[in-house]
């Protein structure tokens, strides 16, 4: 499973696989912001 997400920093994107490589993660997909 790999996805490309937008970072909080404008113009920067991050792959889920790069985050997983560092540490096991709890991934939470939220309904919406707010």
């Amino acid at each position: 499973m790999d996805f490309l997400f937008e970072s909080q920093n404008e113009g920067k994107k991050v792959y889920l696989r790069d985050l997983i490589n560092e540490k096991s993660i709890i991934l939470v997909l939220l309904r919406h912001l707010g």
Partner: protein, 142 residues
């Protein structure tokens, strides 16, 4: 999740939150509601949501839930009194898919999904005790 960050990450995991919107909206949100101890990333096209087969709540169900909040005096949990917070909420409601449901996964460094909770309705989130029990059970690798 924010309030329980320390308990969760003490098990050697990182929390990653994903929302169905873009970086500018995330930054606006964090300016009003932040800070958060974990990353909030954007999936404006909802690619992950669609790929993972996450559900949508119906309009009827959404209206029923809002009505329940209104009748039980909890409407401020959805529509805050603070003007800045309300602006964020209204923008989210007008620009994001408010019917989209979410989910929670525990993913090992190998990419293996050790556990998941797929929300079946808007109030059906993975509970913190459940997440902590799962982390105790699976003890993710370093």
């Amino acid at each position: 999740m924010r309030e329980h960050n320390d308990s969760i990450v003490s098990h050697g995991v990182t929390i990653i939150a994903v929302v169905p919107t873009d970086s500018p909206q995330i930054r606006e949100y964090l300016n009003v509601y932040g800070p958060y101890p974990f990353a909030i990333l954007g999936d404006p096209e909802q690619i992950a949501y669609k790929t993972l087969g996450l559900r949508h709540v119906s309009l009827g169900k959404s209206l029923k839930i809002i009505t329940e909040y209104l009748l039980t005096g909890r409407i401020r949990e959805i529509f805050p009194k603070d003007n800045e917070q309300m602006k964020i909420i209204m923008k989210a409601m007008s620009s994001q898919d408010v019917y989209q449901l979410g989910g929670t996964w525990l993913i090992e460094t190998t990419g293996e999904i050790l556990w998941q909770h797929i929300d079946s309705e808007s109030a059906d989130h993975a509970q913190i005790p459940q997440i902590l029990q799962t982390l105790e059970k699976f003890k993710p690798l370093d």
